[in-house]
């Protein structure tokens, strides 16, 4: 028994944590994971499948899960459609793209600069400020929607482009992850640059940012998800229809549960849902390696 256990870890490591290759003992995990993954991914496949369904398949009885005669009609319908207030859907999509790109860029710069300061600079309040940010990890934005509304109103940010961007930027989890990642960069690197006479900004821009690419990718994804999927800001803080996002438009399609709109809108909603979902997936697939390497620094002490 003991001999077995020892061999398990000393031979070619195909058993135990993080194996190099396949081993029979892994079969039980596949048996567990395969059905579970099917359940997990079915709703996702459903998004793809129903976006390409023609109307008779969307309302078929009994309902069909997979599309039989795929069509792009739902997408052409979506983009030829005007919302109830006369705004073309492409406008919502355009807003979403601009808002998301602006938020991602700003979030990466703002959080990484703050993280650099909290990780590598020396100042009295450093530990206290980091502790406050850690406390804010528990912050539930949805709880303070109303006071936030009052603040946003006071700052006359209602009905502006900025109301989409600014509240999302203060993302404690993003700062936390980047700060932990920068902690992994040895101080000597920065000291060497300082001896060579490099300024703080130069160090931040030329040393820190290139070295924390994985963390940047991670916060980029988190911000992307926060901005791209955000329907609340459009609902609560924006009355001007031409400034609202695709997520908001989709939420108006799905909240009408009854009536003609619900029937006519289902194909369009399915197409919009796919457009909402797909970028999330593509970005994550491309950046998953960076995300995982950031996550190994994610420990909260």
């Amino acid at each position: 028994m003991k001999q077995n256990a020892i061999r398990r870890y000393t031979g070619v490591r195909n058993r135990g944590i993080n194996p190099q290759g396949f081993h029979v003992s892994q079969l039980k995990f596949y048996v567990l994971l395969l059905p579970l993954s099917v359940v997990m991914i079915l709703p996702i496949i459903f998004i793809f499948s129903s976006a390409f369904k023609p109307p008779d398949e969307l309302f078929a009885y009994p309902p069909q899960f997979f599309v039989v005669n795929p069509t792009l009609k739902n997408f052409t319908d979506l983009f030829s459609k005007l919302s109830t207030s006369g705004i073309p859907v492409s406008r919502y999509l355009f807003n979403s793209i601009v808002i998301t790109l602006a938020t991602m860029t700003a979030s990466i710069l703002v959080s990484s600069a703050a993280a650099y300061s909290l990780s590598k600079k020396r100042f009295k309040l450093k530990r206290a400020l980091f502790a406050i940010n850690n406390l804010a990890l528990m912050f539930v934005p949805i709880a303070v929607t109303i006071p936030r509304f009052l603040v946003i109103e006071r700052l006359s940010l209602l009905n502006t482009f900025w109301v989409h961007v600014l509240p999302v930027l203060a993302m404690p989890v993003g700062l936390f992850l980047i700060k932990q990642f920068i902690d992994g960069i040895p101080d000597e690197v920065i000291e060497a640059a300082q001896i060579d006479g490099a300024s703080d900004w130069w160090i931040y821009w030329r040393i820190i940012l290139p070295m924390i690419r994985p963390a940047i990718a991670t916060i980029g994804i988190l911000t992307f998800q926060a901005a791209w999927n955000n329907a609340e800001i459009s609902t609560l803080y924006v009355n001007d229809e031409s400034l609202r996002t695709l997520a908001f438009y989709l939420s108006t399609l799905t909240t009408t549960t009854t009536g003609a709109n619900a029937v006519a809108g289902q194909g369009v909603a399915a197409a919009a849902a796919l457009i909402m979902f797909l970028p999330n997936l593509i970005i994550f697939i491309f950046l998953q390696r960076q995300v995982m390497s950031t996550m190994s620094h994610s420990g909260l002490k």
Partner: protein, 303 residues
């Protein structure tokens, strides 16, 4: 001029640190600190967003506990039931899956992780389309069609409109999307543990994988466990809009899926009793704080 001198000294020494922090700091104060303080202050007032707030003392809290039947009868029990199952339940589920994934080689691990993570990529908005079709109330709904096809059901059920099913569906949907960032953190944490620790334990005669999990894996990755726990707790309390999204109405049918977040919206944005809504917000923030303290007790390294 010693004062000016010391200010200049400070500016030289710590100025750039604060300069780097400034943007984040300002946004943090404006959109997190001020709203939390404002919620706290407003919770002691009557405020309808038209007239200036009127000080009420603890009245809001007292009526929350003594007079708000909806809160005590539906919202609080619902929230606790939902948060306990989705929070710790989803968390345990996420840890278990992360551990299982760590037993596989890189390629299958990455593929499975992607599949498990993908539900939490997209928020309720896009998924509402799916759930509405799956749980649709007429016979074209997938669940109804399936159950009627197998003969288990004679009449279609209005899943999302029936008080007895709504909560269960909310929990299933939330668990489905609970393999989020905490799950990834725990997966990374498990993979980071040095194999030598396991080797040493095996030398000492540890042979069961359960022992390994409880004596090596979890203690070696406490920080990631805590991070995952905080993310699960916040996620569980944050996920309030799910019931309203699914049923399409606030309040949800017979308050069956009414969570504390919906209660806040109900009072704040539908009835304009913002002082009262603020008191409910404070209760919500305190609940999150309480549960994260509990998690810190379990996994924290300080104290």
């Amino acid at each position: 001029m010693p004062i000016r001198g010391s200010f200049q000294h400070w500016l030289k020494k710590e100025g750039s640190a604060y300069a780097f922090l400034s943007f984040y700091g300002i946004l943090f104060i404006v959109f997190i600190v001020v709203p939390v303080l404002a919620a706290f202050l407003l919770s002691f007032t009557f405020f309808d967003a038209i007239q200036a707030p009127r000080f009420l003392g603890l009245d809001n809290y007292i009526s929350l506990v003594t007079q708000d039947d909806t809160f005590m009868k539906y919202v609080l029990p619902n929230t606790i039931q939902f948060a306990v199952i989705v929070g710790p339940g989803g968390y345990a589920f996420a840890f278990m899956l992360a551990w299982v994934l760590a037993q596989l080689p890189k390629l299958p691990r990455t593929i499975f992780a992607l599949i498990l993570y993908s539900p939490s990529m997209t928020a309720g908005v896009a998924m509402a389309v799916v759930w509405k079709a799956l749980f649709s109330g007429d016979q074209t709904g997938y669940l109804n069609a399936f159950l009627m096809g197998t003969g288990l059901l004679q009449q279609p059920i209005q899943w999302l409109q029936s008080p007895q099913y709504l909560m269960t569906i909310m929990i299933i949907v939330s668990l489905w999307s609970s393999m989020g960032i905490g799950f990834l953190a725990m997966l990374a944490g498990i993979l980071e543990i040095s194999p030598e620790l396991y080797e040493a334990a095996a030398m000492d005669g540890m042979s069961s994988r359960w022992q390994e999990i409880f004596y090596i894996t979890i203690p070696s990755m406490k920080p990631q466990m805590l991070f995952g726990a905080v993310m699960s707790i916040v996620g569980a309390f944050q996920a309030g809009s799910i019931g309203v999204t699914l049923s399409g109405s606030n309040p949800t049918p017979q308050y069956a899926g009414q969570l504390i977040v919906n209660h806040i919206e109900d009072y704040g944005f539908l009835r304009y009793e913002m002082g009262y809504a603020a008191a409910v917000s404070v209760v919500l923030l305190l609940m999150v704080l309480f549960f994260t303290r509990l998690a810190t007790r379990l996994f924290g390294s300080e104290r």
